[in-house]
C-alpha cells in the first residue's frame, strides 16, 4: 500500500519543480519580456519586466506597458522611464529609438487632446525627440514613423505648410532606407496634396509611387489602384494612364464591387474591351 505521506512528498516536490520553472529560472527573461510585449501580451510582459528592472529590456518593456496597457496605465511614469532610456547613450540603439518614438508620439497625442490631458504632454518636446530619432537612425522604420507623425502636424499649421510640403518631398527623395517603408508616407502625401492644395497631379504621383512599391494593407492596395485610375480619369484628364490603371484593376480585382465601375469608365473612355 502506498503511504499517504510519501504521496504528499512527491506531490510537493513536483509542485516545487513547476514553481521553479514558472519563476524564470533557466530562461532568458529579457528576451521573453520583449517577446511577450511584441505579442501585445501586456500582463505577461509587465510581469517579466518587473523581474528585471535594471536591464534595458526591463526598462523598455515596463515603460511601454505603462503607456499602452490600458488596464494598468501610468502615462507619467512610463514617459519618464522611456525618457531616461532614450537619453542614455549607453543603451542599445533599437531600444532608444523605440523609447523615443513612443515618448514623443504619446506626448503629441496628449497635446492634441488638451481637454483631457491638460498640459501634461508639454513636459516633453515631441518635435525635438522625433527629430533626434530621425537623426539617430536615418532610413530606419523608427525614422519613418517619427517623420509621418511630425509632418502631419506641420502640415496642419498654415504657417508651416509650404515648408512642410518641401520637407515631405526632401524626405522621400533622400530616404536612405528600404523603399518598402515609404508607401504610408506616399499615402499621406497623396491625401494632403489634395486636401490642402487641390494638387491632383502631385497627389497622383505619390499614389502611383506608393502603389508601385505596394501598400501593405490589401484593401488599401485595391482602393489605391482604383483611385489612381479615377484621379487620372476625372481629375487630371490623362486618358492613357486612366485606361492603364482601370485595366490593371480589372485584371487584378475582377471580383470586387468596383470592377463593374472600372469597366463602365473604360467604356466612357472609349475602351470597351478589357
Amino acid at each position: 500500500m502506498v503511504k499517504p505521506l510519501w504521496v504528499l512528498a512527491v506531490a510537493l516536490a513536483g509542485a516545487g519543480v513547476v514553481g521553479a520553472e514558472g519563476s524564470g529560472t533557466g530562461r532568458n527573461t529579457p528576451h521573453e519580456a520583449l517577446k511577450a510585449y511584441a505579442a501585445m501580451d501586456y500582463t505577461l510582459a509587465g510581469k517579466l519586466a518587473r523581474q528585471i528592472p535594471d536591464t534595458p529590456e526591463g526598462q523598455l518593456v515596463a515603460g511601454l506597458c505603462d503607456l499602452y496597457d490600458r488596464s494598468r496605465q501610468d502615462i507619467g511614469r512610463g514617459q519618464l522611464t522611456l525618457a531616461e532610456l532614450f537619453y542614455n547613450e549607453k543603451m542599445p540603439l533599437d531600444y532608444r529609438l523605440e523609447a523615443g518614438v513612443a515618448l514623443a508620439r504619446t506626448a503629441q497625442l496628449m497635446k492634441e487632446r488638451r481637454e483631457l490631458y491638460g498640459d501634461a504632454g508639454d513636459r516633453y518636446d515631441h518635435e525635438k525627440i522625433f527629430r533626434k530619432v530621425m537623426a539617430m537612425a536615418p532610413g530606419s522604420s523608427a525614422a519613418r514613423n517619427a517623420f509621418l507623425y511630425l509632418i502631419r502636424e506641420r502640415l496642419e499649421d498654415p504657417a508651416q505648410q509650404e515648408a512642410a510640403f518641401e520637407e515631405l518631398e526632401t524626405f522621400l527623395r533622400d530616404f536612405s532606407g528600404d523603399p518598402k517603408l515609404l508607401p504610408p508616407i506616399h499615402l499621406l502625401a497623396e491625401y494632403e496634396y489634395i486636401r490642402l492644395k487641390n494638387d491632383y497631379k502631385t497627389a497622383a504621383r505619390h499614389l502611383q509611387e506608393g502603389y508601385e512599391i505596394g501598400f501593405a494593407n490589401p484593401s488599401e492596395n485595391r482602393s489605391g489602384l482604383f483611385r489612381l485610375a479615377f484621379l487620372y480619369h476625372k481629375k487630371i484628364g490623362d486618358k492613357p494612364l486612366a485606361v492603364k490603371y482601370y485595366k490593371e484593376y480589372l485584371e487584378r480585382y475582377p471580383y470586387s464591387g468596383q470592377a463593374a465601375v472600372a469597366q463602365r469608365f473604360l467604356e466612357e473612355l472609349g475602351e470597351g474591351g478589357k
Binding site: A38, M40, V101, L148, L188, N217, Y253, G257
Partner: protein
C-alpha cells in the same frame, strides 16, 4: 424499538438506497458526458487520437449537418494520411454566445476553431494572428480552380472582410456569404394577383401589393402584403439603403474630392453651396414611405420571429430577409416559396427616371468569421481544419449543399434556387451610403425612426417632413460626430501601441527571417491605417461644420 421508530428506520433506509442509486446514476451520466465531450470512446481508448473542437452560433437549418459532413470528410482524409483525428462540434444559441465565448476564452480552454465576435481587443488578446499563413496556397485546394491562389486570394473579397484594421492583422477567415432577398408566398400571391409572374420592378411590386390588400379586405383575411422586421427597423433600413443607392449612385463620381465614393460632409457642403439639391438625398425617403403603405398596421411592434410566424401562417405575401433563412423559409413553409431580388426602381415609377437600376452586390455580405484561439490544444491541427473548411470543395459541401448558403470563396457556381441568391453583378453601379443613416449609430436610429414616422403618418411631402425633422436632431447628430472624432483619437493611441509592439517585434527578429518581414508588413498596415484615421478626423470636422450650416427644406443653397 417501537413500530413507529421501526417504520422511520425502514423509510430512512429506503431513502439512503435511493440516494446511493441516484449518486451512482449521476456518476455514470457524468462519466458518459465527459467521454462524450472528449470525443467518444474511440478517443478514450486511442490516446494517439488528436481531438479538436469547433464552436459557433449558427443554428440555422443545415449548418450543423454541413459541419458534421465536413468533419466526417476531414477525419477520413486525415486517416488516409495516417493521422487519427476527432473533431467535435459545439453549437451555442446566438443570445448566449458572447457570454459563453468570453468565458471560454478567459477560462483558458476554448474550442480550437471558434466563430469570432467581439472587439478588436478581444481578437488581439485571445486569437492567433493568421497573417503568416494566408500568403501560401491552401493545401486542401489542390486539384481545384483555386489551387494556384494563396489562401487569401481564394476568398471572393481577398479576405478584406476579415482584416482587423485596429491591429493590422487577420485573426479569422470568412466562411459564407449572404444577400438580402424577397421571399414570396406563391399561393397567396397567385390567389390575390391571378398570376405567377413575380414583380421585378417597383411599379409592379406596388401594384401587386395593392391587389393583395384588396384581396385581404374582400376575403376578410388579415393579409399583410409586405412583412417587415419592424421592431428593429431592419427592413426599413434595408429598403432605404437599396433605393438610396439606386437613386444616388452617380454621386460617387462627385461626392468626394479624394476619389470615387461619397463623403457625407462633402455632400452637405454641396447642398450648402447650392451645387446639390437636398432632394437628391431625400428621394429614397419618398420611395420607402410609399412602400410602407403595405406594411402591417402595427409593423413597428413586429419583430423578426413574429414576421416569420405570420409568413408561415400564410398571411404575409412578401418577406424581406437575408439568405441565411432561405433554407428554412423554403422547406418549412406549407406553401411554395419563391425568392426574388428586391424590385428595381423602374422608369414607370414617377421617380424612376432618376434611377440607375440595380446596384452591384459583388464582394459584399461576406461573413461567418472563424479564428483559432491562442490557447488551442493543437494549433497545427486547428489551422489545418480551418483550411479544410475554407477549401473549395468542402466549403461548398457545407454551405451550398447543406445550408443553401453562398460560399465565401471564388469560382463557386450556384444552381437552382441558389441562383436567386447570387450577388447582383450585371450592373456597373455601386452602393452609396446615405448621410442620414451612415453618420453613426444614434443618427441611424433617428433616421430610421423618422422614416417609420413618415410611413405611419404618410405626410403630403415626405421629403420636407424628413428634412426638417433631421434638422431638429442636428445638435444630437453633431454631438455624435464629435464623440466619434474623440473615438478616432483614442484609437490613435491604441494604434501607436500596436506600432510599438511591432517595432519591438522587428528588433527581436533575425534580419533575414520571414518573421521580420511579417512584422514590417504589419507595421506598414498600421501606419497606412493611421493615415486613414487622419482622413476620418478631417472628414468629421468638415461634417460638423457643414451640418451646422444646413437650412430648412427648400432654403439651402441660397
Amino acid at each position: 424499538m417501537s413500530d413507529k421508530n421501526k417504520d422511520e428506520v425502514y423509510n430512512a433506509g429506503r431513502f439512503q438506497k435511493l440516494g446511493i442509486i441516484l449518486a451512482v446514476l449521476f456518476y455514470v451520466v457524468s462519466v458518459v458526458m465527459v467521454i462524450r465531450n472528449y470525443g467518444g470512446m474511440s478517443v478514450v481508448f486511442s490516446p494517439d487520437t488528436r481531438v479538436i473542437t469547433i464552436a459557433h452560433w449558427q443554428l440555422e437549418d443545415g449548418f450543423r449537418e454541413g459541419i458534421d459532413a465536413a468533419i466526417a470528410e476531414y477525419e477520413k482524409a486525415k486517416a488516409e494520411q495516417g493521422v487519427k483525428v476527432k473533431v467535435r462540434q459545439v453549437a451555442i444559441p446566438v443570445r448566449g454566445y458572447p457570454q459563453w465565448y468570453l468565458t471560454q476564452l478567459i477560462g483558458g480552454s476554448p474550442a480550437d476553431v471558434l466563430e469570432v465576435t467581439g472587439s478588436s481587443d478581444i481578437l488581439n488578446q485571445y486569437f492567433t494572428a493568421l497573417s503568416p499563413y494566408i500568403g501560401s496556397p491552401n493545401p486542401w485546394n489542390k486539384g481545384t480552380p483555386l489551387e494556384k491562389m494563396s489562401w487569401r486570394e481564394s476568398f471572393a473579397d481577398d479576405m478584406l472582410s476579415a482584416l482587423d484594421t485596429a491591429y493590422s492583422e487577420f485573426f479569422s477567415v470568412c466562411t459564407f456569404m449572404h444577400t438580402t432577398r424577397l421571399y414570396v408566398n406563391m399561393k397567396l400571391y397567385e390567389e390575390a394577383t391571378g398570376t405567377t409572374e413575380l414583380p421585378d420592378t417597383l411599379t409592379d411590386w406596388l401594384e401587386a401589393c395593392r391587389k393583395l390588400k384588396e384581396y385581404g379586405l374582400a376575403q376578410e383575411r388579415p393579409i399583410i402584403p409586405i412583412g417587415v422586421r419592424g421592431f428593429d427597423k431592419g427592413t426599413i433600413g434595408q429598403l432605404f439603403s437599396t433605393y438610396n443607392s439606386q437613386l444616388g449612385t452617380d454621386l460617387s463620381d462627385t461626392g468626394s474630392k479624394y476619389g470615387y465614393g461619397v463623403q457625407q460632409g462633402e455632400l452637405f457642403r454641396q447642398i450648402n453651396s447650392g451645387e446639390l439639391s437636398e432632394d437628391r438625398l431625400l428621394e429614397p425617403v419618398e420611395v420607402v414611405t410609399e412602400i410602407g403603405q403595405y406594411f402591417a398596421d402595427g409593423f413597428p411592434a413586429i419583430d423578426l420571429e413574429q414576421t416569420k410566424y405570420l409568413f408561415f401562417a400564410g398571411n404575409v405575401a412578401f418577406f424581406i430577409d437575408g439568405t441565411w433563412n432561405a433554407y428554412s423559409m423554403i422547406n418549412n413553409a406549407p406553401f411554395p416559396v419563391r425568392v426574388i431580388q428586391i424590385p428595381v426602381l423602374d422608369k414607370k415609377h414617377r421617380l424612376g427616371a432618376k434611377s440607375f437600376g440595380r446596384i452591384t452586390e459583388l464582394g459584399s455580405g461576406i461573413q461567418g468569421r472563424f479564428g483559432i484561439p491562442k490557447k488551442t490544444r493543437d494549433f497545427e491541427l486547428a489551422l489545418d481544419f480551418l483550411q479544410f473548411l475554407t477549401s473549395w470543395k468542402i466549403n461548398q459541401l457545407v454551405m451550398v449543399e447543406h445550408c443553401k448558403w453562398m460560399s465565401s470563396l471564388k469560382e463557386v457556381k450556384y444552381e437552382g434556387v441558389m441562383k436567386d441568391f447570387e450577388p447582383v453583378t450585371n450592373t456597373s453601379h455601386t452602393a452609396i451610403s446615405s448621410p442620414f443613416t451612415s453618420i453613426g449609430t444614434l443618427s441611424n436610429r433617428l433616421a430610421l425612426q423618422r422614416l417609420e414616422n413618415s410611413i405611419i403618418h404618410q405626410p403630403e411631402d415626405p421629403k420636407a417632413f424628413f428634412w426638417n425633422d433631421f434638422l431638429n436632431d442636428r445638435e444630437q447628430i453633431i454631438d455624435e460626430v464629435r464623440e466619434a472624432t474623440y473615438g478616432v483619437q483614442r484609437n490613435l493611441w491604441s494604434m501607436d501601441g500596436t506600432r510599438s509592439a511591432l517595432a519591438v517585434g522587428v528588433a527581436l527578429s533575425e534580419s533575414d527571417s520571414s518573421e521580420i518581414g511579417l512584422y514590417l508588413l504589419r507595421a506598414n498596415i498600421n501606419l497606412e491605417g493611421i493615415v486613414s484615421r487622419y482622413r476620418a478626423v478631417d472628414a468629421n470636422i468638415q461634417l460638423m461644420e457643414e451640418l451646422g450650416k444646413l437650412k430648412e427644406y427648400g432654403k439651402n443653397g441660397d
